[in-house]
């Protein structure tokens, strides 16, 4: 057996060496799914906290402070709701991704099996 490698093998080594490997792809999906859960819960907590804080706003005659405070808490609550929706979207997207990936593979496999069967019937 020769110990020298040919041109194609040399080219192969170079191409494999340059290849970018997506290591930890499943890990990043799990992290994003977890982030989604955290944002969902965190957003709700923020909105509820803003509501609770707004209950302590007292009217001070002659100033606009209470209005500003209320406006701030309203903004905070809306932001919390938006964060929660974003988190929900992230969670749904990454939790469904794996399920849909396998569903699509199964569809392709079953379609292929049906075609093979039809081909076998047409030959026989």
């Amino acid at each position: 057996m020769t110990t020298e490698i040919g041109d194609r093998a040399t080219q192969f080594k170079a191409e494999i060496a340059e290849m970018k490997l997506k290591t930890g792809r499943a890990r990043s999906e799990n992290l994003l799914q977890l982030l989604g859960v955290v944002l969902m819960v965190g957003g709700i907590a923020l909105a509820l906290g803003a509501y609770a804080a707004s209950l302590n706003v007292t009217a001070t005659p002659g100033t606009n402070v209470d209005v500003l405070d209320s406006a701030s808490y309203i903004s905070l609550a809306v932001a919390g709701a938006a964060i929660s929706v974003t988190g929900g979207f992230l969670f749904l997207r990454y939790s469904l991704a794996r399920f849909l990936r396998f569903w699509l593979l199964r569809q392709a496999y079953e379609q292929r099996a049906a075609i093979d069967e039809a081909g076998a019937r047409s030959k026989g």
Binding site: M1, T2, T3, I5, G6, D7, R8, A9, Q11, F12, K13, E15, I16, A17, M19, L21, K22, T23, G24, R25, I115, D116, A118, G119, S122, K123
Partner: protein, 242 residues
């Protein structure tokens, strides 16, 4: 069997598996596979049905992730490599069942191989030069070809991708012995041209005359590895059990 380096694969090997484990869900199929394919060599992985041979090819081609152990291609650890990325760089698998599109013609099947960059004209020229029968049937639906012709089409498509590491899964499945002999003569020729080849076969006699190395795989492990002459005596034990 293989002198190992923990950090990278051996530079003289096109493919190296170290203690690879793989499973389908909770069913473990590979239980610590060690295997080496030197550049330009033809290695056969033989053994009884259900031993994990096809699964080994799926792990090498990136279709199935190894649960443990390492896969080195061209000396590089390739954990996480997508199968299409490996295929683009010259790792080519001809699966059991040939993998052709039965509802497309011979011409259209070869057209599907042009994604790697070669033109359809070049692909057809190479394919019909190696397999003149395919040239005569270029408009025929691939599903209506004979088993041998379908295997030739699968090989023509594989060769069009200019493989550096060719993985063949049960080439002889469903074919007449004379066709199997012709196909393996072609495989031997391809190996002489410098392509590293790993062949998985149930029917050992079909390949023993042409390969450089033989691995015997039983119940998810490569139990023996050596020259064809040395392994011939071990084969009956492997297939029939002790």
């Amino acid at each position: 069997m293989v002198e190992s380096d923990d950090e990278s694969g051996r530079s003289d090997l096109a493919l190296e598996l170290r203690n690879v484990e793989a499973a389908y869900g909770t069913i473990t199929v590979l239980r610590g596979v060690d295997l080496a394919v030197p550049y330009g060599s033809l290695v056969a992985l033989l053994g009884p049905n259900g031993g994990g041979k096809s699964t080994t090819l799926r792990v090498v081609s990136g279709q199935l992730a190894a649960a443990a152990g390492e896969v080195f291609i061209a000396g590089r650890r390739v954990k996480g490599a997508a199968p299409d990325e490996l295929a683009r760089r010259g790792v080519c698998l001809i699966p059991e069942g040939k993998g052709i599109f039965p509802n497309l013609s011979v011409h259209e099947n070869l057209w599907m191989a042009s994604h790697v960059g070669a033109s359809l004209k070049e692909i057809e020229a190479v394919a019909y030069a190696r397999f003149p029968q395919l040239g005569q049937r270029r408009k025929q639906l691939a599903g209506t070809l004979s088993g041998g012709e379908q295997q030739m089409l699968a090989m023509a498509r594989a060769l069009a991708t200019n493989p550096a590491l060719l993985l063949l899964d049960e080439l002889s499945m469903g074919l007449a012995p004379i066709i199997v002999e012709q196909l393996y003569e072609l495989v031997a020729q391809i190996a002489k041209e410098g392509v590293s080849i790993l062949v998985v076969e149930q029917f050992a006699r079909a390949v023993l005359g042409i390969v450089d190395w033989v691995g015997i795989m039983v119940r998810g492990r490569v139990t023996n590895f050596g020259t064809p002459a040395a392994m011939e005596a071990e084969l009956s034990t492997a297939y029939l059990g002790e």
